[in-house]
């Protein structure tokens, strides 16, 4: 659980973000219409998806596996585009009938 980024004690004069964890307070995952899914068999753990993700939403977890943090992933698809072994696929979240 992340605590609120701003409280009465640290509320600034202007909304400057003083550390990158600032975005922890703003879960933007609900913006997503397509979701990246990693095929673990194909993944070589090169880490390019971690580097390219503009929202720091891909991490290598404690089991040494690439993991998408869906609370923050906006579904931009940059990771799919950059993955050199095509291990990432964008899946439509809700199929229109």
């Amino acid at each position: 659980m992340s605590k609120p980024y701003w409280t009465k004690e640290n509320f600034p004069i202007t909304p400057n973000i003083r550390n990158p964890a600032g975005s922890l307070a703003f879960k933007c995952g609900q913006w997503r219409s397509v979701r990246p899914v990693i095929d673990e068999k194909k993944c070589t753990k090169c880490g390019l998806c971690v580097l390219y993700c503009p929202d720091d939403a891909v991490v290598k977890n404690e089991k040494d596996v690439m993991e998408i943090r869906y609370d923050y992933c906006k579904g931009c698809g940059i990771c799919e585009n950059e993955c050199p072994v095509k291990a990432i696929k964008m899946i439509v979240e809700v199929q229109q009938k």
């Binding site: 509320f11 202007t14 909304p15 400057n16």
Partner: protein, 401 residues
């Protein structure tokens, strides 16, 4: 020994900026502001002012450069007016929102259409709600002194909002008066270097990185608006303090307003800028020649609006004529609305006259102001204003009515 020089309003501004030891000047030429930054570029070229001069491609670029320079901790000055100020509009909100203490001289000039380069306050009124503080000056000496006060006011930690020093285009910008130019050491003592704090100010510091000017969700935006409003409220108190300290140090103080012969006045004329000087002369003449008890209330600080001072000076009179060099189409004079707001909860209210004068450089002479006083005296006696809006000096032969 006082160092008195004959300076135009623009030169007085430039001299004060030099003595304020600014680090960055960014500007784009526009009449009647241009000579301010021409003087400054000369000072920089001659080594008399150790600053960077950034000539931008437009006023939009100018304010962008000012925001960038102020964000790295520089003391920043710019000057503009009219269309130039209008082109800065979007960035003016950014500068105030980032809480950057930029000081800008505005040589008040009309806005097109009709195109013209003469004085009125339409340009600065368009920026009224941007969060910038606005101080309107009456004389060249006041222009000089106010620039130095403005830096101190803007940079104070409780305030941290940019300030416009507004002087009437041509009428003051290009009129020369004797001005006492202060000593560099004295000014430095009064106005020490700007030292922003990376943990508090918007300050781009590689050791303490931050992202400025980004998005903010509705959960916080109104709180930041409140902080800006509160900063203006504190700015009112801070301007009183800065002005007082300036007076103790240099012997001149101006107040947030100047109430001239208002104590016993039946009718008071409220005005800003150079018109005030003429109005004071007219008040003197009407008192001595006609025995009318009339006074003049000069609004010096327009934002923050000096509510208490206005109530104290004007609420005892029978009528108050607000004479404005700007129009809010569909209602009258913007300053009138402010005066009416300030008086809205007062127990005793004078009759208010909503007067528009001096648009697009129309001369505001003694005769027209005497006519305003006469209308105000009459309104005080009858208890109501004759017209909803008084157009002072309007040629009715052309427009009828």
């Amino acid at each position: 020994m006082k160092n008195r020089k004959l300076l135009s309003g623009n030169k007085a501004i430039a001299e004060a900026v030099r003595l304020s030891e600014v680090n960055v000047v960014s500007a784009y030429p526009i009449t009647p502001q241009t000579s301010i930054v021409e003087y400054l570029s000369e000072y920089i070229a001659r080594g008399e002012l150790n600053a960077q001069f950034v000539q931008a491609e437009s006023e939009f670029g100018v304010m962008s450069a000012c925001i960038g320079a102020s964000s790295v901790g520089a003391r920043v000055f710019t000057a503009t007016c009219s269309q130039g100020l209008a082109l800065m509009h979007e960035l003016n909100y950014v500068a105030a929102g980032l809480r950057l203490p930029i000081v800008m001289a505005v040589t008040n000039r009309q806005l097109s259409q009709p195109l013209g380069m003469w004085c009125d306050h339409s340009d600065a009124m368009g920026e009224r709600d941007s969060g910038w503080m606005q101080i309107y000056v009456e004389t060249c000496q006041e222009a000089f002194d106010t620039v130095i006060q403005a830096f101190k006011l803007s940079e104070s930690r409780e305030v941290l909002l940019p300030t416009m020093v507004c002087l009437d285009g041509f009428i003051l910008s290009h009129t020369s008066e004797p001005v006492e130019v202060l000593d560099q050491e004295q000014v430095r003592d009064f106005l020490p270097a700007y030292k922003p704090d990376a943990d508090y100010h918007t300050l781009l510091d590689v050791k303490k990185p931050l992202a400025a000017g980004g998005g903010c969700p509705p959960a916080f935006t109104m709180e930041f608006d409140y902080k800006k409003y509160d900063a203006q409220e504190k700015g009112r108190e801070m301007l009183r303090k800065v002005d007082e300290e300036f007076g103790e140090t240099f012997g001149r103080r101006y107040g947030l307003v100047e109430a001239y012969r208002c104590e016993d006045a039946d009718a008071i004329l409220v005005a800003m800028g150079t018109m005030v000087g003429t109005a004071k002369d007219v008040a003197d003449e009407l008192r001595s020649q006609k025995g009318w008890r009339v006074g003049v209330l000069k609004l010096r600080s327009y934002r923050p609006f000096p509510k208490e001072e206005v109530l104290k000076a004007a609420c005892g009179s029978k009528a108050v004529a607000v004479v404005s060099r700007a129009i809010s189409y569909g209602i009258g004079a913007p300053v009138f609305s402010d005066i009416a707001t300030a008086m809205s909860n007062a127990s005793k209210k004078p009759v208010l006259l909503n007067c528009i004068a001096g648009m697009g450089g129309r001369d505001v002479d003694k005769k027209s102001l005497a006519a305003v006083f006469e209308k105000a005296i009459k309104a005080g006696e009858t208890g109501k204003a004759e017209n909803e809006v008084e157009w002072v000096g309007l040629n009715r032969n052309l427009v009828g009515g």
